[in-house]
Symmetry: C2
Subunit: 388 residues, 2 copies
């Protein structure tokens, strides 16, 4: 097999709106003796990818000269943080001792942020890869397991010592992380109270403008409730029901103590979760879909000893890179998530595979459309690139 | 000396506005063989006392029949949580072994909330008392040391491991706790950045109505800055300066890392502190003067690992009651605060002594006026009852 010397990559030369910033370029692939070359099989679009293009994410991909372009002065950054790949060549100086998975054909996922997964190929240090050779785990599952399910798994583990029968309350329960929370909690015999919007959003998820008019009722509310219940949700209520429905409030008051709240909405929605938490509980924020700051009633902090924290999978991964005990913990996490997935207890999100066939303008349009769909969040399907 | 059988007490029979609820009654004092009788020397008015009258505080004094009243069916609760007293008699069954301070004439302060200090006398279990026989500590200092200075002391100790040279940022820096923070921090070689309102409030501190019009400029701003600086503040800025003044922002950016934020205001003021904290720092809320929920930008929680917590001295005292190591910690705290006070390094707040001479309507008017002054916070002086 002739060594591969270039890769088709989705990226940008300047931060801005994806619509105008995104580009498709062929980039140089310099194989290294101490690295492996991988071919990406599937590369999902996550909100962080979009924020990186916009330049608003705290970690940004590196802009560097693309020597394959005529205009090599203009730097180019390759997008994409999550993905599943296979090893297609192993450098002769790579130390494979004790790591028999470092071989051609092995399926791998990315250990940390910034791998540049929106690309056909990449040359990578094997220490940045995690083997994903578990049986019964599809490529789509492998491609989408390292961000959302891992976030859900860690939040259910790292903040409160939850015992079977304990309850977790979360907003944005229909998000990818929210659905993973429901399923992982179920597998641990934890109860979940799940809050969803009862109205449709009138602004795109990534828009910074705020809607001044109330949103219309969500047409698929009953179907959504049924779907989350089928995943294992013990209770699914809308924000409005939680605020106004006495019988729901009474049920929450009489239900077992609620030790953990998970917030991906912010604003008053965070406060409305916080109110149901038992004294000393944790409210963990991992997203901010409303674009409003997290609001916490002062009395809950002072008198209820509420602890308000945040979770970022990227930081956990950085920590794990320097702590042996967390590496062990990560292996256990991936093993458990793969076990749940293979057993049908952790559903892979609905995905739309977006084929990228070349670097022509038609392909770029397809890429931009997929990113736009991901930004609007309207299709309900996760956009996943596949390079042909 | 004839045993004392009744006490003049400030209290209420029904929760409500202090103006209408407060009453002065003679209450029965039943001495007990296993308790001591104390005479209160000074009894400060704190915000918690007012909230207890209003019925909005999470711990409320007990309403019980007052057998000395003609209408003994109507229950009465004695107000007051903080105060300095002296032991005037010791029950014959009180175990004084190893506690030679349990004797007539000893000066004591209250260990926990709910002692009913707005009274001439009280019969108390000695386990609820703390000896306060340190030299060079005035009655006024002793009367006001267990709430505000202790709150400041604990917040500077229990959340972050602060080393000399580390920086603390706080809002409401002119509050009693804020001033104690400045002085205790100074004694530990910690730097403080102190945020004050640059405008005067137009609503009483305990009002729940919000002001719709902007407040007028604070006339005493320069004097206030000088006073806090004289206490040891490294920097004193207004909310407005912090938001708009580039040179102040530049200074904060270049100053040493800020590990701890203290918030007694809430709303956007909490957010504006949170922004200056280093990653992983703690923002501790102990008050909510603005009556607005604490606002925290989502990104600080997720990307900066900000920890948002609350502090309540009452909870700490409850914890300490059941943990021997915290009792030791409390003794060290009181010793240190008394040392600072005696050395002139921890100023006693400006106080106005309010004499209560009898149970007539004139006396009640004097009591109500003092509570009103405390609610409005306008005089700048702490109101302290003294029963004649």
């Amino acid at each position: 097999m002739r060594p591969i010397s270039s890769s088709l990559s989705i990226g940008f030369s300047k931060h801005g709106a994806p619509e105008s910033s995104l580009a498709l370029q062929r980039t140089l692939l310099s194989s290294r003796r101490d690295a492996v070359t991988v071919r990406f099989r599937l590369s999902p679009v996550n909100p962080a990818d979009i924020n990186q293009i916009q330049g608003t994410y705290p970690i940004l991909p590196k802009l560097q000269p693309n020597l394959l372009q005529n205009d090599s002065e203009t730097p180019f950054a390759i997008c994409g943080n999550e993905g599943v790949a296979e090893i297609i060549s192993v450098g002769e100086n790579v130390d494979t001792s004790g790591k028999d998975w470092i071989k051609v054909g092995s399926r791998v996922v990315m250990k940390s942020t910034g791998a540049g997964t929106w690309s056909q190929y990449a040359v990578m240090d094997p220490s940045n890869l995690i083997p994903m050779n578990h049986t019964g785990v599809s490529d789509l599952t492998a491609a989408t397991i390292m961000v959302n399910p891992c976030t859900a798994y860690r939040m259910l583990r790292d903040f409160e010592d939850l015992k079977p029968g304990d309850t977790v309350i979360q907003n944005g329960a229909n998000s990818a992380v929210g659905q993973a929370v429901i399923q992982i909690a179920k597998s641990r015999n934890l109860k979940t109270i799940n809050i969803i919007r009862g109205t449709t959003a009138t602004t795109p998820r990534n828009s910074t403008t705020k809607s001044a008019t109330p949103s219309p009722p969500r047409p698929d509310l009953d179907a959504l409730k049924s779907r989350l219940t089928a995943l294992g949700a013990d209770m699914v209520v809308t924000e409005e029901e939680l605020r106004a429905d006495r019988s729901i409030q009474q049920h929450l008051k009489s239900s077992s103590t609620i030790k953990l709240g998970l917030n991906c909405v912010g604003g008053k929605s965070a406060a409305s979760i916080a109110r149901w938490l038992q004294p000393g509980a944790s409210l963990v924020t991992y997203g901010g879909m409303s674009k409003q700051p997290v609001e916490i009633p002062t009395s809950l902090l002072i008198f209820n000893d509420l602890k308000v924290k945040g979770f970022w999978m990227t930081r956990w991964n950085e920590l794990a890179a320097s702590k042996a005990e967390l590496e062990v913990e990560r292996e256990a996490m991936i093993r458990e998530l793969c076990r749940l997935s293979a057993a049908g207890l952790l559903a892979t999100p609905d995905c739309e595979i977006v084929d990228v066939a070349g670097d022509g303008p038609d392909s770029l349009e397809i890429v931009k459309r997929a990113v736009d769909v991901a930004m609007r969040g309207g299709s309900g399907k996760k956009q996943v690139f596949r390079f042909l």
